[in-house]
Amino acid sequence: MMRYEWKKIFERRLNVLAMLSGYLLIGVVVFSYISQERFYDAATDSYVEGIEAYRMEQELARLQTDVITEEYVTELIGDIQSRGMDLESDEAYAEIIRPLDDMFYFVSKNYTDMRKSVTDLSALSRVDLRDGAKFYEHRMEKITDYLNMDFSYGNYTEAEKAYWLERAEHTNIPFRWGSKTVMSRLWELIFAETYLWFVVVICTSSVFSSEYESGAAYLLLTTKYGKDKLVWSKIGVSVLFTVGYLMVGALLALVPNMLFLGLPGADLPVQLWNSVIPYNITIGQTCLGGFGLGLLIAVTIALTLLCCSAGFRSSMATLVIGAAVIIAPMFFPMSKESGLWNHINYLFPGRAFNLKEMIGLYVSYAAGNVVISYAAMVVIVYVVISITALLLIRRMFVRVK
């Protein structure tokens, strides 16, 4: 039975077109990431592009240090401060920031206020080095200050503060250092899989509704398995399609990366993306987790749309709903007054997929002494939605009118 459901998906011209376009898009993004990477080579005072740029970035990281020790950071900041330059000036960019590349931004970010979304370039000029840079101490102070701040949309509860501090304190330090550029690009590719969600929307929106639109539903529902096995077979195929399509998309992104660049930096701690991240995971694990989260969200979207497809019996209406669910929340602003709204807003697909961002945000859902982290809440919410949709799909499809 499933064979025929596959056939229905793959013989719809719009579906095939959407599938190919999705992969083409991933291909273009992969190609541009690989070919357009730029690195400033101080020795020749010129920019190197493509695979060579990645190689040189790794070489630079290797020369800088293996581990972010207090001594290394103190020496680095001391050197920067001794030059007496305005770190926001073009001159400082050319002489200090550009040659240090990622290291400068990483260390500066550690001394940047957590509420600031961009790295404070001049933060390093203000670091008091009399007792050393106190890099890790500052990290904890910064996190503590943030958790104790007054926010117009509501403050952290004592339980939340304790939860996050405990996590942050148990982060493995000192951080290992290396080039994370390849993994950062890979993450962006994984994030680009959001585009593939639209393909999932197109392909699943018609799974049930097309049977009603063509009138075939009246025949299918009178067959022995029309009200059970058929429904499960359609759901099974749709979920497998969603997972399979996204997996192939991920492979399309991963394979060229592996072939041309390898996966350097996969084993580095995720704190190299943002030192305040309170999780003991590597960048590679974060990418994998992010992909898993994307897969879960995509499957939830597919199941929800199957539900709409069975209930509304209109492919177009379902398609519009699916596209709106993905696109519209991306434009929902964060509120300055309502913490509740913000906590809901965080859970919409576009935001909920961004694991890299999410793990450094210190967003949690608290009820009394129970604290659930943002990532865990996303998993819970999407699993609950998926199960609810699963339970409703059959009822919607077989509901006679």
Binding site: S214, T223, K227
Partner: protein, 254 residues
């Protein structure tokens, strides 16, 4: 084998599509005759369990068909009116797909499909995609799929629509043959189809049976209501026209 329709009613908002209909059907061909909107399709969908009834019950072999669920659907063959086919499926693929939904074993389904496609004159086209079929060919394919599970209750909604005169004659014979050992219910607005093959005819209007019986019964009924002499010149079309064209208020529901 008995299909009992017991005071079945279906209402759509303010419109009563089927109004307290009752009938007992045994092996044979039953013709449901009525103009468009008379409630034929709704009635048939209720018999097939795909339209909810507001009140009443349909029982097969003494059991409520709703409670029987898959067990009843296993005995059912249905040709819906104007139903969509999968244009990119070949005739054989379509038959095998429906056979899998009917729970037929694959090798049996293959042989049965071949046989039925041959029976409806599509043996030469079994590997052709349905999108290349004419309306009549699709209708024949629809009839073939309805017979896949050798149903005990065969419901055919406008089965001869789209068929050319030669094909219609062929199908009438086929349906008459099928009615020997099963319940065949066919709806149509083509009077001659029903006249030729139905053992029992229901005339439906505004959700009610305005009259029913064998062709002989209906002749007598016609004489009764019109007082016309000359029974030898009677045909069902006259009765049909009497009720459906000459006056809206000419009946009391039976």
């Amino acid at each position: 084998m008995e299909l009992i329709i017991d005071r079945v009613t279906k209402q759509y908002k303010n419109k009563i599509a089927v109004d307290r209909l009752s009938a007992t059907l045994k092996e044979g061909v039953y013709g449901l005759l009525g103009a468009n909107g008379a409630g034929k399709t709704t009635m048939m969908r209720m018999i097939c369990g795909i339209a909810e009834m507001n009140s009443g019950e349909i029982r097969f072999g003494g059991e409520d068909i709703k409670a029987m669920g898959g067990k009843y659907r296993e005995l059912l063959g249905y040709l819906p009116q104007d139903f969509g086919y999968y244009p990119n499926f070949t005739a054989m693929e379509f038959m095998l797909y429906i056979a899998s939904l009917k729970g037929l074993d694959r090798s049996y389904a293959k042989n049965r499909s071949k046989l039925l496609l041959q029976k409806v004159g599509l043996a030469g086209e079994m590997r052709h995609k349905i999108k290349t079929f004419s309306g009549g060919m699709r209708q024949r394919l629809g009839i073939a799929q309805a017979l896949l599970n050798d149903p005990k209750v065969l419901v055919l909604d406008e089965p001869t629509a789209g068929l050319d005169p030669k094909e219609r004659v062929r199908f009438r014979n086929m349906i008459a043959e099928l009615g020997k050992d099963r319940i065949v219910i066919l709806s149509t607005h083509i009077v001659s189809d029903v006249e030729e093959i139905a053992d029992w005819i229901f005339l439906m209007k505004q959700g009610q049976f305005i009259t029913q019986g064998t062709l002989e019964d209906l002749k007598e009924h016609y004489l009764e209501v019109t007082g016309t002499e000359g029974m030898e010149r009677f045909n069902l079309e006259k009765l049909y026209l009497f009720y459906f064209e000459e006056g809206e208020e000419k009946y009391d529901a039976v």
